[in-house]
């Protein structure tokens, strides 16, 4: 490369102007490459070799998931008070919850974490079709989970288990309903990631978005067996 060629550029923080750095023999590339562009490999880690092992976006998502975990811990704590404080559960006269269908629904949701893992793996390997296929399957399985749960809720309401029927119905619909809302939000996020990945799928911002969506999906999937065991099996 002839001397004087521009090999990289940095951004002056004070003036926000991009300064071009000419090539010098023996000079290593600069550590800080300026604010991340849309094509950077990692948006919050300008240089993957020297950047933090956990990006800021992931750290933020972890803090959000910690908050979500404490939110569900509060709901579970309230459920434990009523469940352990009752001699008969479900109370006399209340319908039993559908265990068998919910077992199948649990399997569907757990399998969706496998398809999500495939989608994330495909994205890291640069496989665009694998990414869209994985996201589509995950969204489809999540939607199936919600539809099955919705149909079961309708059946329970017809049998007299409503939100105002007593403490049993109130705790059931609050705990399971909150989880269902989270799954719905995750499915919407999945669909946004799925259809947004068509054009700019290789951009850094899009990829970190899919990564965060995957973290959120894993959270709602991991939470479900706990709630299922507590509410349905206990």
């Amino acid at each position: 490369m002839p001397r004087g060629d521009v090999v990289s550029s940095v951004v002056d923080v004070a003036t926000e102007q991009r300064i071009e750095i000419p090539a010098r023999p023996g000079m290593p590339p600069p550590l800080f490459m300026g604010p991340p562009s849309d094509q950077d490999p990692l948006p919050s880690s300008p240089n993957p070799r020297t950047g933090p092992p956990v990006s800021n976006a992931r750290l933020g998502m972890l803090i959000f998931l910690a908050f979500e975990g404490m939110f569900f811990a509060g709901l579970i704590g309230a459920f434990l008070v009523y469940r352990l404080g009752s001699q008969f559960w479900p109370p006399v006269g209340q319908p039993r919850l559908p265990i068998l269908v919910t077992w199948a629904n649990t399997a569907i949701l757990l399998f969706s974490s496998y398809t999500m893992r495939d989608a994330l793996r495909a994205m890291r390997m640069g496989d665009r079709d694998g990414l869209t296929t994985g996201l589509s399957w995950t969204a489809l399985l999540g939607t199936t989970f919600l539809l099955v749960q919705g149909s079961e809720w309708l059946r329970l309401i017809r049998h007299g288990l409503t939100l105002s029927a007593g403490i049993y119905g109130a705790t059931f619909y609050t705990v399971i309903g909150c989880h269902g809302l989270h799954v719905l939000g995750a499915v919407i996020w999945l669909l946004i990631a799925r259809f947004g990945s068509r054009d700019t799928w290789c951009s850094a911002r899009r990829q970190i978005g899919v990564e965060l969506c995957g973290m959120y999906w894993y959270f709602v999937v991991a939470l479900w067996p706990v709630l299922f065991a507590l509410v349905y099996l206990s």
Binding site: M27, P53, V54, L59, L62, A73, I76, G77, L80
Partner: protein, 105 residues
């Protein structure tokens, strides 16, 4: 002047005594540490349920923060281990070395 200061001090002391007496008279005989710690001496279902729920909620913050902290420590240790295993020529130079090289040139 000194007499005025002494009067004010006596007035303040009398006020403190009156307020303390009023608080003592208004307080119930039995006071609980918290509003939900009722009937913990008995061994009925409600007390046990409340105890388990409190224990669960006490443990959850430590569990969540411990899990996330453990994962972060693992990620940092893993990345530094990978960094050490790479050949020295492939490692990026740190900022002080860069400055030193620039000054040599």
């Amino acid at each position: 002047m000194r007499y005025g200061v002494r009067n004010r001090f006596l007035l303040l002391a009398a006020g403190v005594v009156v307020v303390a007496a009023a608080v003592g008279a208004l307080l119930p005989v039995d006071a609980h540490a918290c509003s939900v710690c009722w009937d913990l001496s008995s061994n009925d279902l409600s007390s046990r349920a409340m105890n388990w729920s409190i224990l669960f909620l006490m443990a959850m913050p430590f569990t969540i923060v411990g899990s996330i902290g453990g994962w972060l420590v693992y990620k940092y240790r893993h990345s530094s281990k990978v960094e050490r295993q790479r050949p020295a020529s492939d490692r990026p130079l740190s900022t002080p070395q860069l400055i030193q090289k620039e000054s040599v040139h």
